[in-house]
Symmetry: C3
Subunit: 274 residues, 3 copies
């Protein structure tokens, strides 16, 4: 009987190449590198909340049954638990119990979570207190990808949950937050596309205590004048504030975590100055 095909293993970290390469080296002791996919190793250092959002966006594009490792782990070596989650679609998630795994787990159907037992993974061998990605999560994922059963590697655990992305009704609008600033300086918010109004035409967007901006709602970047700011439905499904071939994040001074209020401007408002 041919051996059961090993699962895909994806890697999402804030570790950069030097540390993530060591995780790949360990994984290659369990499975061929042809089953490993690097997603992102350049996440904002220690940015667990942003990482949880990005892991959701990246991980959900992969086939069911994939093993996803995520390591943004300021609490490495400390009290936080090493976690593995089983999803209803057959995917398995491995990483620290700091909330990073949960949004993707819930999108794939969170079935059961386990606290990883180091003695099951490392025998008696000690793990570095500064790099559990290499010494705990990579071998755990290697075992899971090659047929070890998740319930043999740990015991039931109730995972830590981050506060949900902010989406709140406020008078005439939606209070949201900045979840990510992408490589182009586009400001990805948690506001649903409906926050742009119906039909979407123009909004007021206010980042923190900054001046309110009056922005057109457009479908594509090309619908903006060169350098001009506008609001679009991002590829994440939420609203983004962008500028055509410029960095909107610099223009509006937004940072990850900033609150933003978005108010559709009614047809009646459209002739007036804000």
């Amino acid at each position: 009987m041919p051996p059961r095909r090993t699962r895909l293993v994806t890697l999402t970290t804030d570790l950069g190449p030097v540390y993530s390469a060591q995780m790949k080296g360990v994984l290659c002791g369990y499975l061929p590198p042809s089953r490993i996919v690097d997603l992102d190793h350049e996440l904002t250092p220690h940015g667990v909340r942003e990482a949880a959002f990005l892991l959701l966006a990246m991980g959900r594009t992969f086939p069911p049954g994939t093993v996803h490792i995520a390591v943004v782990d300021p609490g490495v070596g400390g009290a936080r638990v090493p976690l593995a989650i089983e999803c209803h679609d057959g995917s398995l998630l491995v990483g620290p119990d700091n909330g990073i795994l949960v949004p993707l787990a819930e999108a794939l159907g969170l079935a059961r979570a386990y606290r990883l037992d180091l003695t099951k993974i490392r025998g008696g061998s000690p793990a570095s207190a500064t790099f559990e990605g290499r010494d705990v999560f990579a071998p755990a994922a290697g075992m899971l990808a090659t047929g070890h059963r998740i319930e043999r590697l740990g015991s039931d655990h109730r995972p830590f949950r981050l506060p949900p992305w902010r989406v709140e009704r406020v008078p005439n609008g939606i209070a949201a937050e900045v979840l990510h600033i992408d490589r182009f300086g586009d400001v990805i918010t948690s506001a649903p596309s409906s926050a742009a109004g119906e039909p979407p035409r123009e909004v007021e967007a206010r980042f923190g205590r900054r001046r309110s901006l009056r922005l057109p709602v457009v479908r594509t970047y090309e619908d903006l004048a060169p350098g001009a700011l506008g609001v679009l439905v991002s590829s994440f499904g939420t609203l983004e504030v962008s500028a055509r071939e410029r960095r909107a994040s610099d223009l509006v001074g937004a940072r990850v975590g900033d609150p933003v209020v978005i108010r559709p401007r009614s047809v009646a408002d459209l002739g007036k100055r804000p």
Copy 2:
């Protein structure tokens, strides 16, 4: 009969890890990740002309029959056409019709170009207006890599061509342009190696309206004094201006797209000040 081996798929983008990982996730729905090769996801944002040059350099090192995806796409979601090109060596190229694919296609032998038909690729499912890399080009490449015929995915199209790299005779020299500044600050120009004179010894190089520089022509970086500027034949085959273990681009103030004139200095000149 064993299934026909899927083609290699390469990825070249300005998208960074978050977006390119989503393209890889989609591709993994068509083919194993072992057939996907990341070339570059850190291209200059929106730098279509530089990307076309770099895709040519990277893509031509791959075996015939490879599927190359390239996404530097400021016009995403807009009027520009999604393109696929078939080459005489059997390679297939997929990306926006903004000129990025054409130099590589011509190097491999441009056989025929097609406007991709979204209904053939996505059925009725809509594509994000801000990320066709994930929603159009990745699935198109996935289909092409696994045996779908290119002529079934679109219809004949005459691809857009960027203006050719500048190489022009001027009195006693060659007018060229800066095509790329590499990770070391080496300034890669479009000037052919013959522009350095015969035998190559010393040139005058003038970037835009800056002061003319008198530079030795050398074979290796080691032939320069530490920190000193010189001209070499780059690994792209054209001339580069470099400094030994320093960033020539900073020393000469050159940027991608800058014009540069290169004049070989005759033996008679070599004793004189410029």
Copy 3:
């Protein structure tokens, strides 16, 4: 008889994506991309000594028999020899003879070193004087990974060795050096963990001629107050100076290559000001 499985090939360079992609293209002419693993392409340009340390850390996590290519090569095209090393664990190392390969080779058991003969690798075809990674090391590794015998590709050679990492007894302490500053700003030194004293409690650390710092020795980052500096055993096994969720390298002003002296503070000292 089925063909012998090709070896894994890893890539460690300071070349960035544009050049490393060309090495991968060449390798794909010898073996499937599923056997290629990118370790790091963002090493400090020309930083041979740091690269040798990081290659050791990354390479040793890979299975025996792997082919490791390392290219940080300021002397490309010049007098330095192209090198291949055979290790007792069956691993093979390929790169310039500038010392980059030796620490990993010695960790895996340096069996024999060879000066690569270009005519065996390229026939009569010339190599770029600015990119031997693509034209020499990638094809050499491709041949070695697919069964060519190392002794057929070159002749015996005594490899160049860098000076060893600095670890020297000084009065009441250890003189070491900064080997690497990681993505988090953690300052990785060459000081062994024993330099922190027994039991490790508090040290004085002095970078170059800067003011001496009094730092607690802790086990995990979480044991530090937010932003506070401390000393830990790094995942490399040596001491690192870190700050909790801040960049220690900025706080202490350390750079790669800086000398550092570490002195354990005795129990008797602990009540006194330094």
